[in-house]
Subunit: 255 residues, 8 copies
Amino acid sequence: MKERELRHLLDLVRLGTLSPERAVERVKHLPFEDLDFAKVDHHRALRQGYAETVLAKGKTPTQVAEIVRAMLRHKGGPQNILVTRADAKTFAMVRRVNSGVGRAAKFHQLSGVITIERNPEIVGKGLILVVSAGTSDIPVAEEALLTAQIMGNRVDHLYDVGVAGIHRLLEHRGKLTSARVIICIAGMEGALPSVVGGLVAVPVIAVPTSTGYGASLGGITALLGMLNSCASNVTVVNIDNGFGAGCVAACINRL
Amino acid sequence: MKERELRHLLDLVRLGTLSPERAVERVKHLPFEDLDFAKVDHHRALRQGYAETVLAKGKTPTQVAEIVRAMLRHKGGPQNILVTRADAKTFAMVRRVNSGVGRAAKFHQLSGVITIERNPEIVGKGLILVVSAGTSDIPVAEEALLTAQIMGNRVDHLYDVGVAGIHRLLEHRGKLTSARVIICIAGMEGALPSVVGGLVAVPVIAVPTSTGYGASLGGITALLGMLNSCASNVTVVNIDNGFGAGCVAACINRL
Amino acid sequence: MKERELRHLLDLVRLGTLSPERAVERVKHLPFEDLDFAKVDHHRALRQGYAETVLAKGKTPTQVAEIVRAMLRHKGGPQNILVTRADAKTFAMVRRVNSGVGRAAKFHQLSGVITIERNPEIVGKGLILVVSAGTSDIPVAEEALLTAQIMGNRVDHLYDVGVAGIHRLLEHRGKLTSARVIICIAGMEGALPSVVGGLVAVPVIAVPTSTGYGASLGGITALLGMLNSCASNVTVVNIDNGFGAGCVAACINRL
Amino acid sequence: MKERELRHLLDLVRLGTLSPERAVERVKHLPFEDLDFAKVDHHRALRQGYAETVLAKGKTPTQVAEIVRAMLRHKGGPQNILVTRADAKTFAMVRRVNSGVGRAAKFHQLSGVITIERNPEIVGKGLILVVSAGTSDIPVAEEALLTAQIMGNRVDHLYDVGVAGIHRLLEHRGKLTSARVIICIAGMEGALPSVVGGLVAVPVIAVPTSTGYGASLGGITALLGMLNSCASNVTVVNIDNGFGAGCVAACINRL
Amino acid sequence: MKERELRHLLDLVRLGTLSPERAVERVKHLPFEDLDFAKVDHHRALRQGYAETVLAKGKTPTQVAEIVRAMLRHKGGPQNILVTRADAKTFAMVRRVNSGVGRAAKFHQLSGVITIERNPEIVGKGLILVVSAGTSDIPVAEEALLTAQIMGNRVDHLYDVGVAGIHRLLEHRGKLTSARVIICIAGMEGALPSVVGGLVAVPVIAVPTSTGYGASLGGITALLGMLNSCASNVTVVNIDNGFGAGCVAACINRL
Amino acid sequence: MKERELRHLLDLVRLGTLSPERAVERVKHLPFEDLDFAKVDHHRALRQGYAETVLAKGKTPTQVAEIVRAMLRHKGGPQNILVTRADAKTFAMVRRVNSGVGRAAKFHQLSGVITIERNPEIVGKGLILVVSAGTSDIPVAEEALLTAQIMGNRVDHLYDVGVAGIHRLLEHRGKLTSARVIICIAGMEGALPSVVGGLVAVPVIAVPTSTGYGASLGGITALLGMLNSCASNVTVVNIDNGFGAGCVAACINRL
Amino acid sequence: MKERELRHLLDLVRLGTLSPERAVERVKHLPFEDLDFAKVDHHRALRQGYAETVLAKGKTPTQVAEIVRAMLRHKGGPQNILVTRADAKTFAMVRRVNSGVGRAAKFHQLSGVITIERNPEIVGKGLILVVSAGTSDIPVAEEALLTAQIMGNRVDHLYDVGVAGIHRLLEHRGKLTSARVIICIAGMEGALPSVVGGLVAVPVIAVPTSTGYGASLGGITALLGMLNSCASNVTVVNIDNGFGAGCVAACINRL
Amino acid sequence: MKERELRHLLDLVRLGTLSPERAVERVKHLPFEDLDFAKVDHHRALRQGYAETVLAKGKTPTQVAEIVRAMLRHKGGPQNILVTRADAKTFAMVRRVNSGVGRAAKFHQLSGVITIERNPEIVGKGLILVVSAGTSDIPVAEEALLTAQIMGNRVDHLYDVGVAGIHRLLEHRGKLTSARVIICIAGMEGALPSVVGGLVAVPVIAVPTSTGYGASLGGITALLGMLNSCASNVTVVNIDNGFGAGCVAACINRL
């Protein structure tokens, strides 16, 4: 693609339509906007998904709101906006920035996710199913589910189906086999993805969670367990990374 | 599916065609074959891929050969056969078992992979590209590539494109964007998947390798780096798990 | 058991007493109740112990109270109810749910355990003895003791008998040898189970605790020490997992 | 017991039957035999099991043989003898020491176990079942099984039933429920004990194995997973510690 | 000692002065006092030092005060009393318990140490010198110094002499060589004991501290460094364990 | 140098100008000032940089202010003063100590740095460029930048140029190549220094940050990644150690 | 630079001297040579040093020799060639490839380094001094020294000056202060760089080595210690990475 | 001491007896001998013990022999010589160097220790007792024992007294209480020092060993356990560091 663009620019230069100076400028002018503390990359949304996203953790509420304002300002067709790991204070500032601009911003308290839906189009080809092992894994599951949804996918979930009560999971084999991509979330020993992976033929994105205590090592145990899964359709993302799992699932579901 | 089968059995029972005793037997008779030390699961191949696979590591050459013999014997249409982490001795025994049965077994020395191609059909919808960082990552890359190929996919590779010479990688953006699924293999700091992930819109399966020394911790560093990738289309499999990456890529490419 | 049930169902189908459709439903109808965020598994209590249990950590007080309400509602004969890792707020909500229903809920502050005793029957065959090394191990010891007790066992304890004052422990050899199962709780170097294990012939369930500082690594050191115990009648559960130790001890004591 | 003995001694002293000097000697004379480099503890066998055991690893073949010779010499009724982690060389020396003395010593090559059966009595009350996940877990499984057997238990096994093919395991629910104690052996993610634990009501001794590679960390991952098991009847022993699992299972099965 | 006591008892029994029953009781009656939650071991003070000590961390203020009360009550000659890791609240309770009994309790805020000096006798043979690397290591240094002092030793200190300014340390070689035992306290890279150890011929007790950040890993780095010290007169205690270092130094200084 | 000084002293002694006693004193009188809890080393500033520095973390506000007062008092020509990891309270005390003495103290809130510029001279030969990957890395970046600046260097920065959007970085190759020393700051996978190192020929000081979650392990992952950098001009300092990076960069830039 | 080149190309295009097609080719034609398994980057040598380098570890002797052949073939002025982590077999193949081409290849057995000196020019401005702690650190020290030398620097060394005998180091302060860059190599506790860093005003590149045993953790302890160095002119490279230290030192010495 | 020497030198200078040049030389002339690859420090033996020592690991046999030759050559009164971690080959070379010089060199195969006794004087004031837990800990125990002995101490040992058979240890309380310093060696859970420390009033030097498997982590578990010992007279040295323990014990025993 880059080659084609470059050739086009060079043709313009050869024809005298474009001066070399401006050509250099054009090559340099990549489509991101500089807020000094953050470079908002509008093209990433185009390249990689159907939503612009901000990780609120590690940023001040004001910084998050400024980034959202830049996203709302952007002319490239209305994109959905997703803010993860936010708190009520950040939500208040984002809501103010968004007010009167379009669809209301929503705050999903369990997971700390803020969504601003501006484009309801479904672009994913199948269903993304979020499966989780325990009640305390639900915040991460919700982050994954909302991420996949805001990126234009049909989603469903199946919660509290840990492997020590295998019949609960087997009860829902129908749901499992209806999915095109599965996100599988578990803490403690992280065994769920292996069992789920063995029951289906589609890709399973495993998300370890930091629930548990003692030898769960803040999710490291679940992470290691999932990386050693004996099911060969399982891949893994970082601990508590519901967002990442949602992104990858959306990315696969667009194929 | 199970429900349908069960209903069918029950209908037969109701009609008196099948005695309850035999029905119980049938329900129990799942399609795997018991070699005492290993249960060969012919249905897994049907469920999850287009090849039957054996991990040779931790098994004696004789055990591997016996499993391959059972696979060759199986009546369910000729499946490709893949043996991973094998050595020359295991290959010799496998070749003997396979001789005269069909296509010759091939030994891929760098990766220790044995392939017996019995079904050349291409079932993957796009190209699977294997990208690797350094020369010493090639054995793992080859395992991934052969796995994807034997499971019915078109494959290509791009080797020795580490991030400290970013121009080498950027040179091949065309190849990168031609792939439907990318497998990205790197040791040491494991930074390649982040850069590759940022350049494409398709899923990237990251495989850390155990190359390196000292603080590379046998691949743990690359693994951790990949799990923390700031590119949101990257998922990770176990260290040196080229086989797993090939499986997942094949699984995604069939969607 | 499953086989027998299945055969019985099939017999009913053959006799025309049960339609195939209903038989399918019956097979599917496993005895758990769906609260959306949690699947209450009444049968687990029947299968594995004599109490229904809730881990309060990671659940909101309201969620815990709802689960307890469902347990109280259940028709399968009055089971004892155990809530672990609860705080005063959760206890207040549980007490409200339980009020007027039967035996009062009790809050054991040291360990954060809530017990609702509805069935005082003793089902364990011998004594379960809880032995702990230091004063700060007592919360975990209490969790183990209450768990074993609520599951229908006679229990006793022996506290503050660390190995650096071996005479304190040897003083109580009589108590040690009176037990059918021993739960042994220690932090820091976790040496107590090895010494206790060498003094008795019954199974010793070792529980590492997170007491200590620095190189105690939050209980990892005690855990590792116990896993390396040179006494061959010692097994180990997770750090601070008094509940798990109580369950296993109860499970063994029913044999 | 010690108290009773002591009182008896004191009575003898009071009666003048025993001089104080000799009484002191008697109290001190505990029943172990000093080989200088090892103290053979004949009473441990009486106290804790029905076999005398030697860990060959870390000892020279000569040392092992000397210890076995002392065991054979001991007058306390014929005990079975178990040597673990031995090699062919050690077996040769043990066989020489044992030749002509009684039952032949047997070498179990897969696990490196040597058994000398001198007492065929069954003392365990129920069946001990050894369940393992993969073919490469069999050496550890065999060590566990032989240990339980030589200690006077009926044993059975169920191999190659990993959780990624859950139907294989569910096929054998009958066998699972027939056991009084289960030993559950798995490497990689170590998920098997959670699933097995959820299917039965008896104690499950989990043994992590060092099979696997990369993020399996030589068995640490399986170990951590098992310690975090969500099934409440699971306890854990050290990595590859089939012997320990066999001992604990025997200890429980005698209750 | 035990042998002599036992022989004496037996002589009394033989002479009819002591009945066997009472002899058994006497043997059993070891000199510790049971507070239910803690066994106060008055003999340990006699055996191992010249102070009775309580670790306040992990105990409630009331528990600490009760233990101190029992110590004050004890008839074995006035011992110094040391409470470590206490806060103001615990001190208030201890002061109340101690008021009017004798010497005032003192609270040393930096280290959280409470001392009640009841016996000013110097029993150590030489000087114990506490050397520390940085300003933030002083709390641990103070704990070590007060512990050594309350156990009857002359003490001195040398603070803020880190190895990156080696001349500061070399300035005080005189002080270093005047000590009979040195306690050496350092965080970060923990290099001080190696340098100090190389400059003196007396034992150096190294105490790693949890000061530092990032790769200091809460003191693990300093701990590991000290364990690898190339000076052969260095031994190590736990992270931040000023108390332990003071005890060991006192123990050596009494020799 | 020391040799020359010593020879000079000895010459004075030989000439009778200096008595042996005073000579001994002189040799001993090294130029640092003792505040009891801290030894202010005025010469270190001369030896190693152009600023006197205090790490506020682990010191009380009063201690910090006292150290600054001693620095202000010192007669050796006005040095810049740098306090790192300070909070508002410490700043208030430092400001009071500094008031009326000279240039105002400034508090840089993001990084917690206090600067007192007393000597504006530029001593570094080239530009020090601070490059950082994400918005949340800016506090560490600011600490590095201010440290380099207060030590007499021209500085510039380039923020939010993570490797997953490689075009952002490549956009600024001009800036990168204008630097004489680069400080490169990144959390998560820590891949930025490898890419930057490959683009320039000057030394790159890599600083891992503790941003991220889960498998970022508080910065350990970034640290390990940087240590394994495949670019050969990269060295590493401790996690979040912006100060250290600034010092080293200043040290190199003076060469 | 890239910008200037691009502008020049565009000028040629505008002038019609260069066709757009060829311009595209030129832009793409970066100066590296493809050996299929490795991309030899001749420009890296120009960009980053004065030697072309190969890491032999992880490559077959044939692969190494092929890469060296390509380097020898390259037309860009004779560069020195450095092969690290080679063995005798690799050296034999390299020697054959090099024979008759120019200066003889030398094999430095202790460190496994092969050097082919083709350009004796000194380009570094000052002396690079390699300081090491113990005899067993010498192989890494030699790798660092030869790397710095082959890249055109004057080098010297100071071996066996560990911190437990601080006088040995202080003896050589003259040598230390004569260096422009210091490489400081130590295993075990890794304390040497802190002491050396405190004695000089120039940058100190610290290299941890994997010498030691037990808690030295294969060099991790030394690595962690160096990262926590309290001397502010110390940076760190990977364990045993003498090559990297030599490169960085050369890079700094060219400034 | 240094001060006194310096004053003496200065007096000589003042008196004209010594020229300044020579005085400078004298100050510089510290008593170590340079073998280029190792600096033999004859004074360390005087300062820190009664033997000169070489760690053979990481040195070639020739290097070890050369160091021994220099030690034998040294004129400062016959010192004992100790070589640790040697093999038969190194012993052969050492024996050759020593032949005809004096007392024969002895090789202690279990521990790999070589001793050359040249000075039989006993300088330690009491008995050093080496206590070890298992048969496989004996090599480390022997290294400790021989080190203490060659440094002029009376030594005794007590082997195979692990804590799981506590009666074995209690049997030997007499021996324990006869020691002035105890070295306590254990692998696996490393619990022995806590129990021993609680039984005696003298310092206990704990040495973890790398015996064990799985969760023993090569001795890390024993090391951590010992660092967390609840006995306050226990200090710790590195894993398998029998030599270090012997040195420290000798150092204490000379006090």
